[in-house]
Each structure stands twice: as C-alpha cells, then as structure tokens.
Amino acid sequence: MGHRRIPRAVCYALAAPAALVAPAPAFAVDYLTADQAQALIFPAADRFELAEFTLTAGEREALEAKLGFKVRERWTLRLARQGTRLLGVLAVDDVVGKFERITFATGVGADGAVAEVEVLSYRESHGYEVRLPAWRKQFVGKTAASPLRVGDDIANISGATLSCQHLTQGVRRAVAVVDALLRRGGLR
C-alpha cells in the first residue's frame, strides 16, 4: 500500500474563446433518492412508513408568523422506526432559488433536532426559465438517480457564491413542521 502525498500543483486548460459566446446547457445532478437518504440518516431504522399530515389553519398561521415565510398545508413525511419506536422523521421538500431548484431531505430526530440534511437533487437553469411554471413541474416528484458520468453532467459553477438562503429556510421550515406535529402528538 503506497502512501501518496496530497498533491500541491495546479493544472487547467482554458475553454476556447468561441465557447464563451453561448451559455452552456442547463444541467442537473441527482445525488440520492429519498430511500437512500432515509437509510443514510437513520441507519438504525428497520422500517420506514409514509404518512400524510395536514396542518390546521391555526398551526400554519403560527408557523408562518414564527418563520416569516409560507408553509404549505399538506406534508408527506417518512417515519423512521425501529420496531414500534419512532426514531425520527424525514421530510423531502424543494426550494427554488434564482438559478436553481434544490430537492433536499431533512432528517429530524424524535427529539425535534436536525439529524442531517442531504441534498437529493440540484437543477440549474438559466434565470428566466426558473420562473416558468412548466419548468418547475418538470421536477416535481422526481427521485430516480441517473448514472453519474464525469463530463457533461458535473455541476461546477464558479461564480458569485451560490446563495444557500433558500435551502436554509427550507430546512427551518421542515424542522418547524415536524416540531408542530410532535407537539400535537401526531407523531408516535
């Protein structure tokens, strides 16, 4: 077993000037399916249960006042169990940013604390496309992982810092919803 040193060199090739004229096609990366994410976040669980929850108008109002942004009514959560014991809850949600749509899974423990956040997929688009409802619809409910190849589907955008603000808000929302359901005794 040879021990290799961490390389300390830089090597790159600039794109041809002609390539700079036209934007590259939008791209997408699938990292994990929701099933893979739940197994990663709750490795001790022996089963997962899909459950639908509806927030009452009062619950939504209280959550929106606390968070400062909209919370939808219906939530499909994955309950992680070991036998009959609830280990935690996985909420899959997505957020739309200026140039991207991120589907992510928030794992919340039975104590209401975040266990882990995993990004399931990332969709990059040109800014104007994000605002078109048709474009949004294209990705609703998509969970299949695509084969990974180096080359055309690697998302490496070097620009101004990709804001994570939407994702942070999305995580806060998921945690607050799970917390509200725990409080009402809806999660056992």
């Binding site: 060199a9 790159y12 934007p23 990292y31 956040v117 180096v150 490496n156 620009g159 990709l162 994570c164």
Partner: protein
C-alpha cells in the same frame, strides 16, 4: 469500462458543498468512508472558524478585551498562520482584520501549540476571505487521504459554491452570469484549486480601478483552496491580475466580465 463516481451534497459554509469521488473498483466502500470523513472535516472547520459562532476560537477572540490570549485549534492555527504570511507578502493588502487592526493581533508558538493574542480592544478577525478555501482544502485532504489508503490513484473533488479543489479527474468549470443568467464554459481543472469572487454592484466588495456600477469577476487558479480564495481578494484590492504574489505561489488570476 467506465469509472463510477459517487457524489453527495450538503449545506455547509453558507453554501452548497458538493463532494465527489471516483469509486475504487476493488473496494467501493472506501468511497463512502471518504465522503463521511470529508463531511466531518467540514463540520469541524466550520465550528473552529466561523466568526458568527460565539464558542469558536474567532468568536471568543472578537468578544474579548485587549490582552486576551487563546490556545488555537489546529485549524484556526493553520488559517491564521497562512493569513499572517499573506499579509506580510502582500504588504498589508490581505488583512483578516478588515482594517480594524492589522497589527493588533499576533501568533506565538509555545507550550501546547499556537496562541493568538489580542493587542487592542477594537480588533476583529473575519476569515471570510480565506476560511472557505481552507475548508475546501480540509475536505479535499480527507477525501484524498482516505482514497490514498487503497491501491488506486485517488480521484476526487470538492465544490463549495464555486470554490473548487480537484485531483485526478478533469472537471469542466462554468462561470455564471449573475445578471442575465446562464453559465459559460470557462476552463477544465484537473489538479489544484479555483475560486471566483464577484465584485461590483450588489457585492460586498468592489474591484480597485473598476468603474462603479460595473460587475467584474476575479478567478484565481492556485495549488490550494486557501491560496485561490485569499488571492482573489488580493487581486480585487490591487486591481491587477499580475500581482507578484500570484507567481510566487504558482497561481494565475483572471479578471473577467460575467459570461461573455
């Protein structure tokens, strides 16, 4: 046979961090182990460096009175040591105190490790210009180190919202046009690091000698994430892509318009 890659992404460092590794054919579990180690490293660096966490070394330093001394974590010592050297080499252009007191803090090696001392009450340290690049390095080192225990050549990368480091694989990098949208082919990075900062309207900082109201991007390709991150700030502050500090660190800078 085509190689298989494993990629994961989590929110860290105030952005989305993507890790990627080529899965070793003989021992695929090593890829998962490498990702796990790298995510742990990111969380560790975040705890040690964030100026916003009161319990971090930097948070404690910022809140303390003059005369305060703190024994630094290894991570904080590495970053501040590098920041000190860059400040000296750039004749003060690179300044993690952001003007609150470039000479009002010092490091000393002593019993138990490296100590940070505060000399005036007003000095605040902010590692925003160097910390992300360092975190990229730490995550990259964790990936590389784990993969290097196996028989295959490591191939891995870290992308923290545009701060990249890679080894053993060709990563096409695109530059985003913040105004019009769209991402344009920029370069292919196969070894080392690349960072890009935007300067101009709506950005936190502006580029020296650029007309106001004009957005510009500075990209720096360098051997490490820390250097590429820090050197974008040096280039922005002097407005020159040929600052001698770049060549002395084996780095190259590009000043460009977003997109075309």
């Amino acid at each position: 046979m085509s190689a298989r890659y494993l990629r994961r992404a989590r929110p860290h460092l105030g952005t989305l961090v993507e890790l990627g590794v080529r899965v070793p054919e003989a021992e695929p579990a090593r890829a998962t182990a490498a990702l796990g180690r790298a995510f742990l490293a990111l969380a560790e660096v975040e705890r040690a460096l964030s100026a916003f966490l009161p319990e971090s070394d930097i948070g404690r330093f910022n809140a303390a009175p003059a005369g305060f001394e703190v024994l630094l974590s290894d991570d904080a010592a590495r970053v501040l040591g590098a920041a000190c050297a860059l400040a000296r080499e750039s004749a003060g252009l690179f300044d993690v105190s952001l003007g609150t007191g470039p000479g009002a803090w010092s490091l000393s090696e002593g019993e138990g490790g490296c100590r940070l001392r505060k000399h005036s009450p007003g000095v605040h340290l902010d590692l925003g210009g160097i910390g992300k690049g360092f975190a990229v390095d730490r995550a990259f080192e964790a990936l590389f180190d784990e993969l290097a225990r196996g028989p295959e050549e490591p191939a891995c990368w870290v992308n923290a919202g545009g701060d990249l480091r890679v080894s053993g694989v060709e990563l096409p990098v695109r530059l985003r046009d913040e105004r019009g949208g769209g991402a344009f082919p920029f370069l292919v990075l196969s070894e080392g690091a690349l960072a890009t900062s935007r300067f101009g309207p709506l950005a936190r900082a502006s580029l020296a000698h650029a007309s106001p109201g004009h957005a510009r991007y500075v990209s720096v390709a360098a051997p490490t994430g820390l250097l590429s991150d820090a050197l974008t700030k040096v280039v922005a502050l002097c407005g020159r892509a040929d600052h001698p500090l770049l060549a002395s660190h084996g780095a190259t800078a590009f000043i460009h318009e977003g997109g075309a």
